[in-house]
């Protein structure tokens, strides 16, 4: 077992799968000699050659589109979009083609591609480098949207994404790339998609988060423990399709729920979870469900980004109001 950072875990998962499945190939801007701007693909071109680790022209729409073509013909392309601010041109291909190829052809053609991208704020990056568009992709029928929150989950979930027969959007929280290391067994063992992970057990309130926000959420759970509040924490991991059962089970136990995400509040994915709880577990609730999200503003440049990202204080405050309201 090696101690890996999240970005190293991504690198190991890519290398493992490329070594074991010849149909896997990587494409994206600067992923070859440079190893990706975050080094996620470090050393892979030297190891697997230029035909399987392709430095593409600067053309995100075509990167996604050629991946659809490759995937339909039996390859398993893993496309990297350098930052999520530049992922928007892929939406045309992802929504009109990647997500529907199976359905449109009644299963005759399929699209086992992975679209990877670093995402989220918190690394003092320039304009358009800090966006959180998971809800846009989650809204597209036929896609999977996966957000790992730790090196081990990045490794196991990315392997699962590459092995999945359908298109997966894999969003890697940039803020976590090098934040901490974790023991990861590089043995090719995947983690389940479409499943939430119970990250911490508790009985008073359910905190639901994903990706980088797991950091603030777990820290808030620690702070709450000091104040005598026992929080359960769920890592959603696969945003879409959503494992609502795990969340409902927890909410039925605790009677309270706070959903935390870094994307803007309105029409964020937290709204979906809250609505599901309202439909299916309203009478288990002791207090209204609350969301702690970014404000409905443009991700600010770096000087204000800490005020944009929901803080531990904001989560604790929301939990306290939920506790008091019941």
């Amino acid at each position: 077992m090696a101690e890996l950072s999240l970005v190293e875990a991504v690198n190991h998962a890519l290398a493992y799968e490329m070594a074991n499945d010849e149909s896997v190939l990587l494409l994206g801007e600067d992923i070859g000699v440079n190893g990706g701007v975050f080094r996620a693909t470090n050393g892979l071109q030297a190891r697997f050659g230029r035909e399987r680790v392709i430095d593409t022209p600067l053309a995100e729409g075509a990167i996604a589109g050629v991946a659809v073509g490759m995937a339909a013909m039996g390859l398993k392309p893993v496309a990297e979009i350098q930052f999520t601010g530049f992922i928007y041109p892929t939406i045309d291909q992802m929504i009109n083609h990647a997500s529907r190829l199976r359905n449109r052809t009644r299963g005759r053609l399929t699209c086992p591609m992975v679209l990877r991208s670093p995402y989220g704020a918190g690394i003092h990056a320039p304009e358009h480098h800090s966006e959180s568009p998971e809800a846009l992709f989650a809204h597209m029928p036929g896609l999977r949207v996966v957000v790992p929150s730790s090196p081990a989950r990045a490794y196991g979930l990315l392997l699962a994404a590459m092995r999945d027969p359908d298109p997966v959007v894999f969003l890697e929280p940039t803020r976590l790339y090098r934040l901490f290391k974790q023991e990861v067994a590089d043995e090719g063992e995947s983690l389940p998609l479409d499943a939430c992970f119970l990250s911490r057990e508790g009985k008073d309130v359910t905190l639901v988060a994903w990706g980088a926000m797991m950091q603030e959420t777990l820290a808030a759970a620690d702070a709450l423990e000091q104040q005598g509040v026992d929080a359960e924490v769920i890592d959603v991991a696969t945003i879409k399709p959503l494992d609502m059962e795990t969340i409902l089970r927890s909410v039925e136990k605790t009677g309270r729920c706070v959903i935390i995400h870094e994307a803007p509040r309105t029409a964020g994915f937290g709204a979906e979870i809250a609505a599901e709880i309202a439909e299916r577990a309203l009478f288990s609730l002791l207090a209204p469900v609350k969301r702690v999200a970014a404000y409905d503003v443009v991700v600010p440049l770096s000087r204000l980004e800490r005020q944009y990202i929901p803080s531990v204080d904001r989560i604790v405050d929301a939990v306290r109001s939920v506790m008091e309201g019941s």
Binding site: E29, D30, G32, V33, N34, G35, V37, D55, P57, L58, A59, E60, G61, A62, G85, F86, P89, H124, A125, P126, E127, H128, H129, R265, Y295, D296, V297, V298, P300, L301, S302, R303, L304, E305, R306, Q307, Y308, S311, D313, R314, D317
Partner: protein, 363 residues
Amino acid sequence: MGIHTSVDPETGAVRFLSPEGALCRPIPSSLSDELLVTLYRAMTRTRIFDGKAVALQRTGQLGTFASALGQEAVGVGAAAAMQAHDVLAPSYRDHGAQFLRGMTMAECLLYWGGDERGSDFAGPRLDFPNCVPVATQIAHAVGASYAFRLQRADRVVVTFIGDGGTANGGFYEALNMAGVWRTPTVIIINNNGWAISTPCALECAAPTLAQKGVAVGIEGWQIDGNDVVAVYDTVRQAVEKARAGQGPTLIEALTYRLGDHTTADDATRYRDPELVRREWAREPIARLRAYLLRKGAWNQEKEDALQRESLEEVGQAVNAYLATHSAGCDAMFDHLYATLPASYVSQRDTARRFEPKGGGGHG
């Protein structure tokens, strides 16, 4: 003096000054000695600014920064050929042009230091802000120039894009519209050889980028982008042509990125330092200086004074930048809509309630 050809013998691009600063053909009448000195001063100021900005980033006082080291002639030459009431739609490496148009160095630092107020230029009020998503600015330039034509305004729009950017759909689509609509647009490809680690040959298999104009019915000219005379004179012609209602021009300026892509990049990972060392022999500032010195239009005394003044100017901009306090959380809401919708008030209240004391720092 010098060889009397009008083009770079290797690339065929239009050139007036050789890398040694020798005349390849007569300096056009549009460029007086006084203007040449102005261009020289502007390029030097840009280079000194870049050096300081990189140093600020290295010491944690600035965010990621994209230096124009080695490419000063493109931005400076092009901006000098524009009129104040024309409009610039820049990419993110065009502060050389922006400074000439009146954006202050402090504003530039503020932007890269992570503060939106850096894009609220005091000078060129109609110029577009830096454009980070590659190639998206070309369509803005075409739309803006269409607006000017419709308004019978005597205005031209100049826009910049990198070599890598020309691989992007946004570039092709906008270029095609400029061709069809014959808008008063000048599109300048800043071909510095690299799109981060990707060399031009992996972005495009055509022999030149200028010929991308052919497919959309736009004239494409290739110039030596390290020769500020060639840049100025060519852009001037393209701007005049646009102003006269004769449509858009695509200009490929051949230059070289002597620095890293940005301060977040390490070019030694993918680029032979020997290549870069050789390119230093072609750089634009020494070239013009050699010419001006030989002509007697410049001397060591003036050079020393320029260095001193520029360092002082940059130093003052840095001080102004460092003294600018964080705007505070309200800034996230202030310019979102013309007036803040009622539904936002409680969000802003929350932001205020959780605003840390003392505000944000630099970089």
